[in-house]
Symmetry: C2
Subunit: 168 residues, 2 copies
DNA sequence: GGCGAATACTTAGGTAGCGAAGTATCATCG
DNA sequence: CGATGATACTTCGCTACCTAAGTATTCGCC
């Protein structure tokens, strides 16, 4: 197979940084993981822009929708899952609420709490973006056979399992 | 093998969004790619913070060092490779220069141009961070045998090759 | 050779996000 | 019950970054 960006990266590395210990295979795997993620991030950005959402609006709707209780969560839960600060979450929700994609409802049993709920319009636009995004993923996946996809999943899972052990 | 975050994610998906077409294997691969990248991003942040760099300072030094002409580049080249605007680059370089990790040198043949050069201190701190970062990667990679690592590289490369075709 | 377009970088004004402090509510325990 | 601490969210001041406009230099072409 022709070389990819990673091959060139690793070759450059070997040329210039001989003294820095490194394992080509390890470097290759993680650089490629990063390149694929980067490509999909950009594809997502295009998809999301096309339906008229900003990146962070989509991300917020997305974690709201893929939860165990889809379409409903507290600001704190969303912030944690998005890796964003509480303050940042307040800002995002202000925007989403103004745009009409989300509602803030005061919780009845605990008046400190707020429940964030997706609106019909919010769900609709999220689905539109999801659809576009899924197409980009399917397109990439066509580079592999069913069998290869299964193998890839098996090997990647060994890595994610370890990473989750490390995170505790 | 026990389930990972992705397994739970996919299971949830099937429960709640039956009507949205999706391929489990495809979703699994790309979600895992994203989870691994996310884990390594955080590991990098920890490594980088430990030696006393911010995330974006390290990133900038890093692309400066891994180029064909290591330790030397124009602001525009760096901005492109980092996916940052020209204005953003100016800001980053101001900080890096102030901290003494980088120098701005006027180009002799074209007085519009500036050459960014890493200093000794900049190279030293980058290497420190690289070392820590490499350890996190090696640790993850130990989840796989040599053979599995090779297979993983081969399959991932099929995907990156396709993504690079798409990008033109 | 000189004038308009292109290039390389910086400055200016605005936005998303962060950490820390603030406000309101609830839980614990004497 | 009442005081102290914990929790849930918001407000405030600051930073990094973006787009667009500005400045300086070089290129292309008659």
């Amino acid at each position: 197979m022709a070389e990819d960006w990673t091959d060139r990266h690793v070759a450059r590395w070997k040329d210039h940084w001989l003294d820095l210990a490194f394992d080509e295979a390890v470097e290759g795997v993680f650089v490629r993981v990063n390149r694929i993620d980067r490509y999909l991030r950009r594809a997502k950005q295009r998809a999301v822009a096309e339906v008229g959402l900003t990146d962070f609006e989509y991300d917020t709707l997305h974690v709201l929708m893929i939860r165990d209780t889809p379409g409903s969560a507290s600001p704190t839960e969303l912030a944690t899952e998005l890796g964003v600060s509480g303050a940042g979450m307040t800002g995002r929700l202000d925007g989403l609420e103004k745009a009409g994609w989300v509602r803030r409802i005061p919780a009845v049993d605990d008046r400190r709490r707020v429940i964030v709920e997706v609106t019909k319009a919010g769900m609709a636009i999220w689905r539109q973006a999801m659809d576009l995004r899924g197409r980009a993923e399917d397109d990439l996946a066509e580079a592999l056979t069913e069998r290869e996809l299964a193998t890839l999943n098996r090997l990647l899972k060994k890595v994610t399992v370890r990473s989750e052990e490390r995170e505790g």
